[in-house]
Symmetry: D2
């Protein structure tokens, strides 16, 4: 993976107001993978003190987008995904690790697992699978350099 693509991923992530609002971090990127972490805190929880499903979904959705975008080599978006919550998300930190399983010309089918970090190690709390599609540029532009 080129240095440019790594920088591109981080620049897109940093340009997401919602990711900053939640306090999420893009902690690793690879040629077809991405990892996003979030520190648990009270305002991210639901009525039982677990991380709200909406936050787990954010992690799944966004990690899928970045894994797919990296595999596709540019800007991308999540067209759809499906998530199973397997266990309550309780822990200091929640980590989403996504990879592109199949990449074709315009889309990548990606999977992500969500882990809660606890005193005694990581626990798998949710799994998702979805379709990431390359964003088409709407206006003509010169060929990219490099």
């Amino acid at each position: 993976m080129t240095h440019d693509l790594t920088e591109f991923a981080h620049s897109i992530f940093d340009a997401q107001p919602f990711s900053r609002f939640l306090g999420a971090e893009l902690t690793a990127v690879g040629p077809d993978s991405a990892e996003i972490r979030i520190k648990n805190r009270p305002e991210l929880q639901q009525q039982h003190g677990y991380l709200h499903g909406g936050v787990v979904s954010y992690l799944a959705d966004n990690a899928l987008t970045f894994a797919g975008g990296l595999a596709l080599g540019g800007d991308a978006l999540t067209a759809e995904y499906k998530i199973n919550y397997a266990r309550p998300a309780v822990g200091e930190v929640i980590i989403a690790r996504a990879t592109a399983a199949v990449t074709t010309r315009r889309q990548a089918v990606c999977q992500v697992s969500i882990h809660a970090v606890k005193d005694d190690g990581e626990q798998l709390v949710a799994m998702a699978q979805g379709t990431i599609i390359a964003v088409e540029r709407r206006t003509p532009e010169p060929p990219a350099a490099g």
Copy 2:
């Protein structure tokens, strides 16, 4: 639907720190339906100025949970769901309307549509379908009367 169940739904919603953090409101409940609204604002957006998929997912997930919980008659949680983002979510307000399509003893299969409110009306921006399961009480309790 009993007045009690309506109150129960609102009390659960009000007890969700994440819903307050996002500024979401539970704007309607029925015997097997729920509506949640959120006012668009910059910190809920992604890098293109659309509502972030994580917020759309929160709306879908939570509206599904409440529709299913109301259909099941008590506390419930989303076991899994699948969402299709059909169009960018742009608008002043985003509304999720969920209904339980099939309710059996311990679960409800629910659907939700997400609409963006624009100057010229509402636009369907996303659709989701999922399984809501009744939360079992963990502690022994006396047999229910009646």
Copy 3:
């Protein structure tokens, strides 16, 4: 909907060996909808005498494809879908009714409900939602007029 598109849908369906093998019928088509029926018989069942999930999935998948193809105006395929089995599929006939909920240029997000016909009426047994994409022609062709 043009007569041509109705004929096109039936010709595609009739060209599916697997649909004939199962004994399925395309019983209705509309501008963005399709209905497929199958007569229950022992070889379509699983170990408890219910229609096998694979048959229910076939009905969902194929009805989604036809609803989406009709909405998109030509040959199409199911890119992905999600199905919830809500109740055992028992009955003389099983019917899948699909509609396109949102159609954009190259894809349609469609929903389908699967009903079992019993002595006392129809029962909803499964629900699915998925993405249908227009099939691109692989060979060059002259520019379309108009």
Copy 4:
């Protein structure tokens, strides 16, 4: 895994008329995994000569059920799943390999990958994820021996 559970899985599979009708085989089972194979033949195809999505779905659904049932230790059924068709399924044999990723008391969240066997090796053609639930016995029965 006990010998009994292996035998139980095969006896359930052999009792599925639809699996025999399609010519599918349960070719491997493990403590939380299952593999099902099917030989491609014309009546399993769609209009372009690819294996019909309904057959791919059957493979996904059934492999998920068996992986989940083995993980749960008894009779089970697929409550829901989601499938992405990544590439056309073309090849002599199609293989579904499923594993249970998270098993709790009454359910297993399972994943399956579908591969087409071609002259130059296997190709991943589809991926699915779903929920398998333990079938509750409706009538009292004596504890199982062994």
